[in-house]
C-alpha cells in the first residue's frame, strides 16, 4: 500500500470504518512508514481537539421561545392537518359521486319515463277521442264554434252544395272569386265547402285526426272546416296582438300565414311586410304535447348561410322564434324541424326529421291581386309552388314532396290558385284576405 492511499484511509481507520483486510494492510503500512504513522497521530490529535470543543450552550429560554412560536403557527394553520381533512372528506366525496351516479342512472331516467308515460297516455286519449277532439294546441281553439256556424250556414243554403268555383282548367270570374276568400263577409265560401264537413261527419272515421284532402270535386275550394283558424290568424297577424313580435314600424297589418300541423310537432310560418314589401318571417314551433328539444334549421335551397335555432318544447307547447329576415335572391328555403335525440317518444327510434319547403315571394302582394295565368304540366311541385309564391305574393310552406304537378290556371285569383294547387297535392287550403293556412296531411 502506498502512502497516498494510506493517507486517504486514515480518517476511516480512526472511525473504525475500514473492513478487516484493508485495516490490516494499512496497519502494516503504518508500521513500515513512520511518516504516515505520524500523520495518523496528527489526525488523531486534530480530531480530539475538534471533539473536545464543547457544544454551544442553548440560549436562555430557547425551548420556550420555540414552543410559543409553534403555538402561534398552530393557531394560523388549523391543526386537523391536511391528511386528516382529506380522510374526512373522502367518504363525503364518495357519497357525492354515488349520489350523482344515482341521479343520472336512476332518478333522472325515471323522471323521463314518467314524463313519457304521461305523454303517451295523453296522446292515446287524444287518439281515442278521434278527430273531433281538441288537440291541446292553442290554434285549435274556437273550431267547434266555427263548425256550428258552418253547419248553420249549410242548412240555410243547401242548393249551392258541390258547386266548385274554380276548376283546373276553368277561369273563375275575378269579381266573384275575390270576395269568396273572406269567410266572415258572406256565406258563399261556407256554402261551397259545406259538403266537406258533412262527408267527414258521415264517414265518421274515428282515429283520423285531420281531415283528408278536400272532398270538393276537381280543384274546388277546401272545406272551410278550419276557417276558425283563419280568423284567428288574421287576428294574430295584427301588430301588437299577443304573440306577434314587434319588430319596428316597417311591418304592415297584412300578413300571410301558412300552417303545417303535423302529428306531434309543427312549424308555423307567418309573414309580415318588411322594408320594400319584402317578407319578414316569424317561425313558431308548436307541439301537440310537450316534446323535448328540437332544432329548427332554415337553409337556402342553393348555397348560402343557414340559420338554426334550438327549440325547447319540453316545457311549453309553442315557442315564438326571433324574426327571420331572408336575404334577397333566395326564394326557396328548406325548413327542417329536427327532433333531438333523447326527446323521441318510446317506440319511435332515432331522431325524426320534418322537412318543409318554404317559398318566399320577392314581395308580398295585396291579397286580392289576380294571378293572370299559370300553367304547370309535369313540373315539380317545388317549381310550381315557387312560381305560385312569387306570382301570388304568398308565403308558402309545404312538405317536401317529389310529386310532379300537372295543372293549369288561367286568370284566377292568387288565393284560388294556391288553393287549387295545394288540394292537388293533397293538402287543405284556406285563405282569406289576411292569412292563408295550408294544412297537409
Amino acid at each position: 500500500m502506498g502512502c497516498k492511499k494510506a493517507r486517504k484511509l486514515l480518517g476511516e481507520y480512526l472511525d473504525r470504518r475500514l473492513e478487516g483486510g484493508l485495516s490490516a494492510r494499512l496497519e502494516a503500512h503504518l508500521r513500515a512508514c513512520p511518516a504516515c504513522a505520524g500523520e495518523l497521530e496528527a489526525l488523531r490529535i486534530t480530531l480530539q481537539r475538534v471533539g473536545s470543543l464543547t457544544s454551544a450552550p442553548l440560549p436562555e429560554g430557547f425551548v420556550e421561545k420555540v414552543s410559543t412560536a409553534v403555538r402561534q403557527r398552530a393557531a394560523v394553520q388549523p391543526r386537523p392537518n391536511r391528511w386528516q381533512t382529506l380522510r374526512w372528506l373522502a367518504p363525503a366525496f364518495g357519497v357525492l359521486i354515488i349520489g350523482m351516479i344515482t341521479w343520472w342512472q336512476v332518478v333522472q331516467p325515471a323522471g323521463y319515463r314518467a314524463k313519457r308515460a304521461m305523454a303517451e297516455r295523453e296522446w292515446a286519449e287524444f287518439e281515442r277521442a278521434g278527430p273531433a277532439a281538441e288537440p291541446p294546441v292553442r290554434h285549435y281553439k274556437g273550431r267547434a264554434l266555427m263548425r256550428e256556424e258552418m253547419k248553420a250556414a249549410a242548412k240555410e243554403s243547401p242548393a249551392e252544395t258541390g258547386k266548385p268555383r274554380v276548376g283546373a282548367e276553368g277561369a273563375a270570374p275575378r269579381t266573384a272569386a275575390a270576395p269568396q276568400f273572406r269567410p266572415k263577409q258572406e256565406s258563399e265560401p261556407l256554402a261551397v265547402s259545406r259538403e266537406a264537413p258533412g262527408s267527414a261527419a258521415s264517414g265518421g272515421v274515428e282515429g283520423e285526426r285531420v281531415a283528408r284532402a278536400p272532398a270538393a270535386s276537381g280543384l274546388g275550394y277546401a272545406p272551410p272546416e278550419r276557417s276558425d283558424e283563419v280568423a284567428m290568424k288574421a287576428e294574430g297577424g295584427r301588430p301588437g296582438a299577443p304573440g306577434y313580435p314587434a319588430t319596428g314600424g316597417a311591418l304592415t297589418e297584412k300578413g300571410a300565414a301558412l300552417d303545417l300541423a303535423r302529428r306531434s310537432a309543427a312549424v308555423r310560418v307567418r309573414a309580415a311586410k318588411g322594408p320594400e314589401g319584402r317578407p319578414v318571417i316569424f317561425f313558431r314551433a308548436e307541439a301537440s304535447q310537450p316534446m323535448g328539444l328540437f332544432a329548427l334549421r332554415v337553409s337556402p335551397q342553393r348555397a348560402g348561410k343557414e340559420q338554426q335555432w334550438v327549440v325547447d318544447l319540453s316545457r311549453s307547447r309553442s315557442l315564438e322564434l326571433p324574426p327571420f329576415f331572408p336575404p334577397a335572391g333566395a326564394s326557396v328555403w328548406r325548413v327542417s324541424l329536427i327532433e333531438k335525440s333523447g326527446s323521441a317518444l318510446p317506440g319511435r327510434t332515432g331522431p325524426r326529421h320534418e322537412d318543409y319547403r318554404l317559398f318566399l315571394p320577392s314581395r308580398l302582394l295585396p291579397p286580392d291581386e289576380t294571378l293572370a295565368s299559370a300553367e304547370y304540366r309535369g313540373a315539380s311541385s317545388a317549381q310550381a309552388l315557387a312560381d305560385l309564391s312569387e306570382k301570388s305574393g304568398l308565403v308558402l310552406l309545404a312538405p317536401v314532396s317529389q310529386e310532379s304537378v300537372t295543372i293549369s290556371l288561367n286568370r284566377v285569383p292568387a288565393d284560388a290558385a294556391i288553393s287549387a294547387l295545394a288540394s292537388f297535392l293533397g293538402c287543405q287550403v284556406e285563405a282569406d284576405g289576411f292569412a292563408r293556412n295550408l294544412i297537409a296531411e
Binding site: 511518516a35 496528527a42 475538534v50 464543547t54 454551544a56 450552550p57
Partner: protein, 209 residues
C-alpha cells in the same frame, strides 16, 4: 436496548405531534434543541443567527410534521432542515460579503461569552487553565470556520456530534461517498491548521512514492 426504547418514545411523540399534540412537540424540541442549536452555531458562527436558524428549523419541522414518514429518524430530519437553513443563510451572506474572520468574535456585538465553554464544566478550575482552554477553543473554532460550508457541516456532524456517515448522508441528502470525501478534505485542512508543528515530515513521504 435503551436506544430502541428512545426511538420508540420518539415515534410515539411524533405520532402525537402529528395529531396536533403541542406538548408532545415541545418534548421533541427539548430532546433535540441542543444539537440543533450547536449545529447552527457551528455553521453560522453567531449565537443570534444560530438561535433564529434553530427556531426556524423547529417551526419548519412542525409544519412538515404531517408529512413526516413514520419510522424515519427525527434527528436526521431536523438536522437536514437545519443544515439547509444554514446553507441558505450562508448563501445570503455571501451576497452581502463579510470577512469570515468576523464570524467568530466581534460580529454584531455578540462576542463569545467567556462562560460558554465553562457552563459544562463547573467553575472549580484554575483560572489559568480556563484561559488556556478558551484559547484552545478559539483556535479550533477558527479552523472550523475557515472550512467551506458543506465541509463544515460534515465535520460538525461527524466529528463533533458523532453522527455516523450514514446519518450524515441522510441529513445532507447525499451519498456516503460524498460524505467520506468531504470529511476527508475537511479533516486534512483541520489537520493542517491544528496539527502540532514538527509533524510536517509527512509530505516528503508522499513525494517519495
Amino acid at each position: 436496548m435503551a436506544d430502541i426504547e428512545a426511538r420508540l418514545d420518539e415515534a410515539a411523540l411524533i405520532a402525537r405531534g402529528q395529531r396536533g399534540d403541542l406538548a408532545a412537540f415541545d418534548r421533541l424540541v427539548n430532546l433535540h434543541a441542543a444539537r440543533v442549536f450547536n449545529l447552527a452555531y457551528r455553521m453560522l458562527g453567531s449565537r443570534q443567527d444560530a438561535e433564529d436558524a434553530a427556531q426556524e428549523a423547529f417551526l419548519r419541522a412542525f409544519s412538515g410534521l404531517p408529512k413526516f414518514r413514520r419510522g424515519a429518524a427525527f434527528s436526521t430530519w431536523i438536522h437536514r432542515i437545519t443544515v439547509n437553513i444554514c446553507l441558505d443563510e450562508l448563501k445570503r451572506r455571501r451576497n452581502r460579503p463579510q470577512p469570515i474572520s468576523s464570524l467568530y468574535g466581534a460580529r454584531d456585538g455578540d462576542a463569545p461569552d467567556p462562560m460558554d465553554c465553562l457552563s459544562a464544566q463547573k467553575n472549580s478550575e484554575d483560572p489559568a487553565e480556563i484561559v488556556a482552554r478558551r484559547a484552545e477553543h478559539e483556535e479550533v473554532e477558527k479552523a472550523l470556520a475557515s472550512l467551506p460550508a458543506q465541509q463544515r457541516a460534515v465535520a460538525v456532524m461527524c466529528d463533533m456530534e458523532g453522527l455516523t456517515y450514514e446519518e450524515a448522508a441522510a441529513a445532507l441528502n447525499t451519498g456516503i461517498g460524498t460524505i467520506k470525501s468531504r470529511l476527508h478534505r475537511a479533516r486534512q485542512r483541520l489537520r493542517q491548521l491544528l496539527a502540532p508543528p514538527g509533524e510536517q515530515t509527512a509530505k516528503k513521504c508522499s513525494q517519495k512514492r
